[in-house]
């Protein structure tokens, strides 16, 4: 395999960045779409699971072609697409209002900050260990060169992820402050307190996989957790997984922890004064953050790109027929499937349970999650000492 020149490797990295951005901007609208549809089915809504044009556009074409089969649930997945299109158009077309008394620069920079912080985390996420694919030799300039499964193979990847993710808080706090309005201020204060509190148990719960895998590199961690431990490490780390997921809900401001934007209390929380695409950035950032949290959870606790649990990969592989051998190998697609399952969980929870009160949110973090996370860390250390 030829070694890339420095310029070639920069080009490859840029291509990787592009792929990740494409991934993000495909997954996020699909999540929004799925949120409409899953909630629509959970809540028996009449619109979001049915709306589709009968005459014009893509849905019209599909309806004309398949109106008979469209009643079969599997074939009616496109139903609801106009809602998604309208959603995106609304974000783009709405007037961008700048409040008179807002701090203009900070008001402008806040949505960008939370968006950037959310996307940049993906730099350290490894979708698949080793080589993702090799450019075919006819490809100009970078032909024959391998592309690895993650953008940056940082040996302290987890620190990078946690560090950058916490920058996202600034976006929310600054948005709340810069709006110069009372509800956003309350939302910003809430989010500052909440996200800082939840980062503690979140980090501690992620320390357990670090202890178990003796690494801070995302790819190595997920590989060791997936292969070396029973059931992707989910069995010894079930407590850690639940704590992590809870904190993940809080960090991404989703129900039951959506304090910063609790719409029935604070109107829209920190983004009350935002409209148009600036609001769209917060919206996107929230969904990208959800994807990030899901990616970390599936990487550390759900076996990442490995499909087979129980440490069976090595055992089963020799017996698999050749055409099924991909089954035992890591694939980015398995990783993405797990992310999608966790994203579904987000929506599922949103459709089921009410919202905590602010003080209760804080007491959950400090009184229950942190001690439990510490206990879990102790467990992981014991497993590390005596079992692995």
């Amino acid at each position: 395999m030829p070694t890339p020149t420095p310029i070639q490797s920069i080009v490859i990295t840029l291509i990787q960045c592009l792929l990740v951005v494409i991934f993000v901007f495909v997954v996020v609208p699909l999540t929004v779409f799925a949120e409409r549809k899953v909630l629509g089915h959970l809540q028996q809504r009449l619109g979001s699971t049915r709306v589709a044009s009968g005459h014009v556009g893509v849905t019209g074409w599909m309806n004309r072609g398949m109106w008979k089969w469209g009643r079969v649930p599997v074939l009616s997945y496109w139903r609801g697409i106009p809602g998604l299109v309208a959603d995106v158009l609304k974000l783009i077309l709405k007037e961008d209002i700048l409040p008179d008394k807002a701090d203009k620069f900070v008001f402008f920079i806040a949505p960008a900050l939370s968006m950037v912080a959310a996307v940049v985390v993906f730099a350290a996420v490894s979708f698949v260990p080793g080589v993702f694919f090799i450019f075919p030799t006819w490809f100009p300039y970078v032909g024959g060169l391998p592309v690895s499964g993650g953008i940056a193979d940082i040996n302290v990847g987890l620190l990078w992820i946690l560090g950058v993710a916490s920058v996202g808080v600034y976006g929310i706090v600054l948005a709340g402050w810069a709006s110069n309005s009372k509800y956003p201020l309350l939302g910003g204060l809430r989010s500052a307190a909440q996200m800082v509190s939840y980062e503690v148990p979140l980090a501690i719960s992620l320390l357990a996989p670090v202890v178990l895998s003796a690494s801070l590199n995302f790819g190595e961690m997920s590989a060791r957790m997936a292969i070396g431990l029973p059931f992707w490490g989910l069995v010894p780390q079930i407590l850690g997984f639940l704590i992590y997921l809870t904190c993940g809900f809080a960090e991404t401001n989703r129900l039951p922890f959506d304090m910063p934007e609790a719409e029935n209390e604070l109107v829209a929380g920190f983004h009350t004064e935002y409209s148009g695409m600036k609001f769209g950035f917060f919206y996107l950032a929230e969904y990208i953050n959800m994807t990030v949290v899901a990616a970390l959870a599936s990487g550390f606790f759900l076996g990442g790109p490995w499909l087979l649990p129980f440490g069976l990969q090595g055992l089963v592989n020799p017996f698999l027929p050749a055409f099924l051998s991909w089954f035992g190998e890591p694939h980015a697609i398995f990783f993405v499937v797990k992310i999608i399952f966790l994203l579904f969980t987000y929506i599922w929870v949103r459709g089921t349970i009410p919202r905590y009160r602010y003080d209760q949110v804080m007491s959950v973090a400090w009184k229950y999650l942190i001690p439990m996370a510490l206990f879990n860390l102790l467990l992981a250390a014991l497993v590390r000492c005596f079992a692995v």
């Binding site: 009372k182 719409e263 109107v267 003080d359």
Partner: protein, 366 residues
């Protein structure tokens, strides 16, 4: 170096959880409410004064538009107050149909309360489930009187028309599925840890305070006072109905939730009894073409879903319209207790308190 200052904030008049155009002036210490004053009047139309310039028949249309979530209950109060004023006896069948529709209305109103209250606390799914069942009730309203929300269901002296054909089937279908629907809501909420944390011990109002402020309805019953006008001073056909008045003693938001859920079950029972014991006969009493009042005054109270709705009417000799008309609106009186409930709590609690009071601004501002 650090200044500790209270923040003054307006909850409303445009706010997702003030149920219309209620404005609450809050003073906050952090997130704790130190001072709370409701400001009302944004929906004032002068209903009482308008009714004084209309005939007795026309006035009913305005009662729909007070508490638009329980229009039928308002209609019933107005019709009965007028019947009291003129000394009209309503046929028994009309009484039964009135009771039936009134209980359906109680269900619809309680479902709206459940929907919005749950949504305020963040349980979005219950909101849509409750609206699904309410839709069936509105369909029945439509079948009976042609309109869904502002029903003008009754007439002074009885009903405009008998029940439409096929109404019984609608009711049967509804009663067959409604108990499972209530169970569905309760499965989502009653034992939900978060729901309990958000409602138990929140927005307390003791029986003494409630009585001192004239609070009625489920809020009073959740404080342990079994005062229900349907039992205390029976009207329509309630004297012949067998039902219980659910009470709780905790006097908090959760108790009010339980009381209203139990009330929904009782309403379904009353509806069943109305259907079973529905007498035959005319539905309208004989009335003169133009009603001319004597010098007379009445106060007639009925149990609306939100509490005691009282109509005070003064007749003038020979006049076709009331000399004075006043409504004792349950929401208006109940809203007084909001500062008592909310002060000392958090912002999230005042949202729960507004939800649990089940206010409709159309009736408060009139």
């Amino acid at each position: 170096m650090f200044k500790n200052e209270e923040m003054e904030i307006n909850l409303g008049p445009q706010h997702p959880s003030t149920h219309g155009v209620l404005r609450v002036k809050l003073r906050l210490d952090g997130e704790t409410i130190t001072h709370c004053r409701p400001v009302i009047g944004y929906l004032h139309r002068g209903v009482e004064k308008i009714c004084e310039n209309q005939t007795f028949f026309q006035g009913q249309v305005w009662t729909d538009r007070m508490d638009y979530c329980s229009a039928v209950a308002n209609n019933l109060g107005w019709a009965e107050a007028n019947e009291k004023l003129f000394g009209i006896t309503v046929p028994r069948r009309a009484q039964y149909i009135r009771t039936l529709l009134n209980e359906f209305n109680r269900l619809a109103s309680h479902l709206i309360w459940l929907a919005t209250h749950a949504l305020d606390i963040g349980a979005m799914t219950v909101f849509l489930y409750a609206f699904r069942e309410r839709e069936d009730i509105l369909d029945m309203n439509e079948a009976f009187c042609g309109s869904r929300l502002t029903t003008t269901a009754f007439r002074i002296g009885g009903l405009r028309e008998d029940l439409p054909p096929g109404f019984e089937k609608l009711v049967k279908k509804f009663l067959a599925k409604f108990p499972t629907c209530i169970e569905e809501y309760e499965n989502l909420l009653s034992e939900n840890r978060i729901w309990k944390k958000r409602t138990i011990g929140v927005a307390k109002l003791s029986a003494e305070d409630a009585i001192a402020m004239g609070v009625t309805g489920p809020v009073l019953r959740a404080a342990g006072v079994p005062y229900d006008i349907r039992k205390a001073f029976p009207y329509a056909a309630y004297a012949e109905m067998d039902f219980e008045v659910p009470t709780r003693t905790e006097a908090d938001t959760y108790a009010r939730y339980l009381v209203r859920m139990a009330e929904m079950r009782q309403s379904a029972r009353i509806i069943q009894q109305c259907m079973d014991g529905m007498p035959e006969g005319p539905v309208m009493a004989k009335l003169p073409k133009i009603m001319r009042a004597e010098v007379n005054e009445v106060y007639h109270a009925t149990e609306a879903p939100k509490g005691e709705i009282g109509y005070y009417l003064v007749g003038e000799k020979g006049s076709g319209n009331p000399y004075r008309f006043h409504v004792r609106a349950p929401g208006f009186i109940n809203l007084q207790s909001l500062p008592k409930m909310a002060e000392g709590g958090l912002i999230a609690d005042i949202v729960a308190a507004i939800g649990t009071l089940d206010i409709v601004l159309g009736e408060i501002d009139r």
